[in-house]
């Protein structure tokens, strides 16, 4: 099978969906001429023209608000918010507008808005360009939250997000854009609410998202040398969450570790841990452990930055604490 990068996979998803449906358009800062700060939208302007590939002013509120207005009358915008940290700027349009419009109207309107955004630490981008804010958004009813970890997942999930009639926040880890992986030539979609078991095992369930999937798989390799087999599961969509797959795994292993790069306190891991406790208490042989980023802003210096985010050693340590 051919190998393409995460960024290329996203671009293919956008191209295919824009060819398929003329109501799909992309907008964001520097996405047209520049091809996006992370290059995801490169080439789209040449193929689809400036009516459907729009460079915007620095106006996150207008980017999301305009997307909502257009979506509510039949278009399918895919907005790029350059860095997920900037979601703070347009928070009202997400919290009070996009997520609630359908419900408040009693179901009169569909709001097929996709917001793609780059998140995560690892390139010394500093405290305001390195965050993992997904927890804020999984908390808001009316949003679907997607976080792929491989090129295959990225393409299939983005296509679904665009065809879906709901508001989606699509989180892309910066360090994944260049990572290559198998992606079929033929068209495929990945449904929401379908977790992916990235590695099978029987001794512990490790739930990981984004870049932490790679760390979890590395941890699983290390653990195997000690005779422990870890089942690594990537939820892929945080909302809707595939609880069934997670619970079935915990029923098998009896132990769970949840890992995410986001700050540990009230991170999405807390939701998963609570859910596992509620649904699978009888099967647990130990408390669910959470591994998350330290509760501090992401410092700039590479020496500090790598210290505040979890890595495979933290995951191994957590597993050892419950096995």
């Amino acid at each position: 099978m051919r190998k393409i990068s995460f960024g290329e996979a996203l671009r293919e998803a956008l191209q295919e969906e824009m060819r398929r449906d003329e109501t799909v358009f992309v907008l964001g800062e520097d996405i047209a001429l520049h091809g996006g700060d992370f290059g995801v939208t490169k080439g789209l302007l040449d193929e689809f023209g400036e009516k459907r590939v729009r460079d915007t002013p620095i106006s996150e509120t207008a980017i999301v608000g305009l997307s909502l207005g257009a979506a509510s009358v039949g278009m399918r915008p895919v907005a790029e918010i350059m860095f997920s940290d900037f979601l703070g700027v347009c928070m009202d349009q997400i919290l009070n507008q996009v997520s609630k419009m359908r419900y408040m109207s009693g179901g009169q309107v569909k709001t097929p808005v996709v917001i793609r955004t780059a998140f995560g630490a690892g390139i010394s981008a500093g405290p305001q360009h390195s965050q993992s804010p997904e927890a804020f958004f999984v908390h808001i009813p009316g949003l679907q939250v997607v976080m792929p970890s491989t090129p295959y997942d990225a393409k299939g999930l983005l296509k679904t997000a665009i065809r879906n009639d709901n508001a989606v926040i699509f989180f892309e880890h910066k360090l994944l854009y260049g990572v290559k992986g198998d992606v079929p030539e033929q068209e495929y979609l990945i449904g929401f609410g379908e977790a992916d078991i990235k590695r099978n095992g029987t001794d512990v369930t490790i739930v990981a998202t984004g870049l932490m999937v790679k760390e979890a798989l590395a941890a699983a390799e290390t653990l195997e040398k000690d005779g422990l087999t870890a089942e690594v599961i990537d939820p892929r969509t945080l909302v809707p969450l595939d609880e069934k797959t997670l619970i079935n795994s915990v029923k098998k292993t009896g132990r769970a570790v949840v890992v995410h790069e986001a700050w540990k306190r009230s991170g999405f891991g807390a939701e998963i841990a609570a859910m596992i406790m509620e649904e699978a208490m009888d099967y647990l042989d130990a408390p669910v452990k959470r591994v998350g980023g330290l509760n501090v802003p992401t410092p700039f210096s590479p020496a500090l930055e790598k210290y505040v985010v979890p890595n495979e050693n933290d995951i191994v340590k957590a597993v050892k604490e419950i096995t």
Binding site: F25, K51, R52, R54, T56, P57, S59, T61, A62, V64, G65, L66, S67, L68, G69, A70, A71, S72, V73, G74, M75, P77, D92, Q93, N96, Q97, M101, R102, Y103, M104, S105, G106, G107, Q108, V109, K110, T111, P112, P141, G142, Q144, D165, N166
Partner: protein, 321 residues
Amino acid sequence: MPRLFLTHEKMIELYKNMVTIRRFEEKVSELFAKGAIPGFVHLYIGQEAVAVGVCANLRKEDYIVSTHRGHGHCIAKGANLNKMMAELFGKASGCCKGKGGSMHIADYGSGILGANAIVGANIPIAAGAAFAAKSRGTDQVGVAFFGDGASSTGAFHEGINIAAVWKLPAIFVCENNLYAISTRANRTIPVRNIADKAAAYGIPGVVVDGMDVIAVYDAAHEAVERAKRGEGPTLIECKTYRFCGSFEGDPQLYRSKEEREEWRKRDPLNFGRKLVETGHMTDVELEKIELEIKSTIEEAVKYASESPYPESEEATTDLFA
């Protein structure tokens, strides 16, 4: 600006629509005081000329995005009074199944893309509806209504700015009623007219007597035509006044009785008297209009009162499509 020629029928329609809004709002005020309407209500009494003058230039397929003070806009744009009243009561037969209430009246089939309770937030949304029209190549326009307070928000700036640079067929209608709840406009707006801010976006900024339905109609007509010609948006500032409090229950300590009485003299509904004086209507016809509207409003109240509340299971529906 030259006065447009308006037909006899059109002028009477303008008057009727203003009276409908006035009587609806008066009834809502009465019902709210009795406890039949929960939550907050922000009434449009005194500002009728703005909604009616603007919406008289719009077709069903044109879009408006309204505000928490939106009953007037929604009525002028053709929302069903029964469903509106039922919505205010929180009944299942409300236009939003009771899930939105007064501040979120919506009727997407009539181009009413929801009333918005976050001040200014509707401005970029209206720009989005206009964007869709332009993308599809139709001649639909998108209108955002907002108040003087909204002109200080980031959303005002971002929404108008993007509509201006992309030359979207949008009309931004500012209803400057001098107060954002209790805060007088001259304490928050550093320029003489909000319309002056249009210069920042390179679009026309028009100041209009918001108590004069014909003046509003003319200004809106020009803005709609400009939008349809592909020349971009217009910012219309209607100088108006709400005769009621910001919300029902507002003690209105921030403005004097004298000021309110001065503005009352310029009641937009005086247009009815003008139509009689100029021979367009007789006193009998004027009275007939009142009776018809009274009956329509009473029917709406009856419809709302007799409708059931939603079942509790409804609380968890309509989240996702």
